[in-house]
Amino acid sequence: MTTTDLDRLLLIRHFERALLDLFAKGELNGTTHTCLGQEIVPVAVSGLLGPDDRVFSNHRGHGHYLARFDDPAGLLAEIMGREGAVCGGVGGSQHILRDGYVSTGVQGESLPVAAGAALHLRGSGALACAYIGDGTWGEGAVYESLNLAALWGLPLLVVVEHNGIAQTTPTELAMSGDIAARCAAFGVRHVALPADDVGAVRAVLEPLVSSVRTGSPLVVEFAVNRLGPHSKGDDTRSGVDELRDWYRDMSGDTGFAEADARAHDLVDSVVREVKARPASRWDR
């Protein structure tokens, strides 16, 4: 793993922790969904994407954004409604548009749009990458889109962050069968991967993602652990502390402590600097 990847993982981890801390202090408006425990997925996937690729994120999208753009201050300003916000503070945590990256807050809504973007990109060598969760597979839009992607040979990469829980509902109460079989039904390639090593994920995905670019859609299903609540402090699970966490696993690695301190300090200074900014302005 390069230093850059580790720095990115740690940046996301400390960013999300800082958000929960700000919420606890009553300094954030509304709600937020953190990706604690899932950081490896966007860091690994982003390394396989080019500047012309389009990224579709979701309600749990801070990691997707920070893995794509080196801009914690712009994202925090967006979440806090401060000057320099990516979208003026209008979209907030769940609704961000920047340079071919878009997130929306409705489950399954992004996949048809991503299919449209993939249709736009078809033949160019670029692809549309959409992050969804296991819970998203309850939405019919997913199946309509997979059908179109296969029918039309769309360069669509669907990244599933399967964390086993949708808000408070475990997957076994919401999904009959499994994602692999659902993909097979549409003739869409599916690969299941653990998400515990950035380099290993990339090694498997690199050739597969290349073939997406020539019009062969792919669903990549990552097994991940959601270590935080769905939204703020609404976790109903027990035993979350025992779940595997890359942060704990890597903490003894050479250079980890220094990188961790750097990321912590960076986020700390971003929080202090953004908090001090004036409110964002919106010209409707």
Binding site: L111, P112, V113, G116, H120, L148
Partner: protein
């Protein structure tokens, strides 16, 4: 020229003018050319730009939104407007919101075409006029096809607006002739507002979307011949946001105002129009703006039952008479 031919020609022009523009929908390909033939010939003339789709209203509207987000012009046909409920999320929560929810104006050239309305015996799920459900959605424009508005200009206006648009096309219009208004009435068009009138100040101003044009003119003819009541009909192309200024100017001098539409009762476009006119003309109008619409009912299939529910020439005739009492 029939209205459907005019629409077909307009679609041809959009695809010809912009090789990146695309048209998507179910059963669009020749030789069928779409359920109502509005797209006939297009897949032959522009094979790379016309896509036939599975029965997936949600996804094909989302695909259109995705193309629009990438800067293309996308036209999506929903075979019957009743099925647009399946695409409501994509229209309301994605396409319309994308115009402004990301903090800056995002151009979205998406037109969702919606063959609409009753009178053809298609029954409760293939006959509705659902315009009212799209009134007041921020970022979304609502248009209705009209025999008095050249569809080439209407489509051009929608594309130029760079906002997502829903375009309601009353199915009974497809086979009618464009721009045909018989004596003693004449018509003109100013800034997207069509006016059907005689050369005299009106007793009553009727405001109606394009699909109601023929029923309104028939009622106006009867009122003129049988009761010497003079009416002027105003037909806006864009139903929302509404350009109320020209309606106010025309309504100011009339003894009464009627808004007529095919929607079923309750929460109608006409109620919104009436409210806007009341705001501007309170104290000037002699009576409240009157509404004519279909009954609060599903739309039955049998023709005698369907006639009893839908807005007819008689509904408008009677509402005008009542409004002048």
């Amino acid at each position: 020229m029939r209205v459907v031919e005019n629409l077909n020609r307009a679609l041809h022009e959009v695809l010809a003018a912009d090789p990146k523009a695309r048209l998507l929908g179910e059963d669009l390909l020749d030789p069928y050319g779409g359920a109502f033939k509005a797209t006939r010939g297009l897949s032959t003339a522009f094979p790379g730009q016309v896509l036939t789709t599975p029965i997936s209203e949600n996804a094909i509207t989302g695909v259109g939104a995705g193309l629009a987000l990438c800067g293309e012009t996308a036209i999506v046909e929903i075979m019957f407007s009743d099925f647009v409920t399946l695409a409501f999320d994509q229209i309301v929560n994605f396409a319309a919101k994308s115009v402004s929810m990301y903090g800056t104006r995002v151009p979205m050239r998406l037109i969702v075409r919606l063959p609409t309305g009753g009178g053809r015996g298609y029954g409760p799920t293939h006959s509705q006029s659902l315009q009212k459900h799209f009134i007041g959605v921020p970022g979304l424009d609502v248009y209705e096809m009209s025999p008095l508005h050249d569809n080439r200009a209407v489509l051009a206006a929608m594309i130029a607006s760079q906002r997502p648009c829903v375009f309601f096309e009353d199915k009974v219009l497809y086979t009618k002739r464009m721009h045909q208004v018989d004596d003693p009435f004449t018509w003109d068009l100013t800034d997207g507002l069509a006016r059907v009138h005689v050369d005299a100040p009106p007793d009553c101003v009727i405001i109606a979307p394009g699909g109601v044009t023929h029923r309104a003119v028939a009622a106006m003819r009867r009122l003129l011949i049988e009761q010497e009541i003079i009416c002027t009909l105003l037909v806006p192309s864009r139903l929302h946001p509404l350009d109320v200024t020209s309606l106010v100017a025309a309504a100011r001098g009339a003894k009464s105002v009627v808004v007529a539409e095919e929607s079923t009762a309750g929460g109608t476009w006409g109620a919104e129009v009436a409210h806007r006119l009341h705001q501007e003309l309170w104290g000037v109008l002699r009576n409240p703006v009157a509404l004519a619409h279909s009954a609060d009912s599903v739309i039955p299939t049998a023709s005698h039952l369907e006639r009893a529910v839908l807005l007819t020439e008689t509904t408008i005739h009677d509402t005008v008479l009542e409004s002048l009492k």
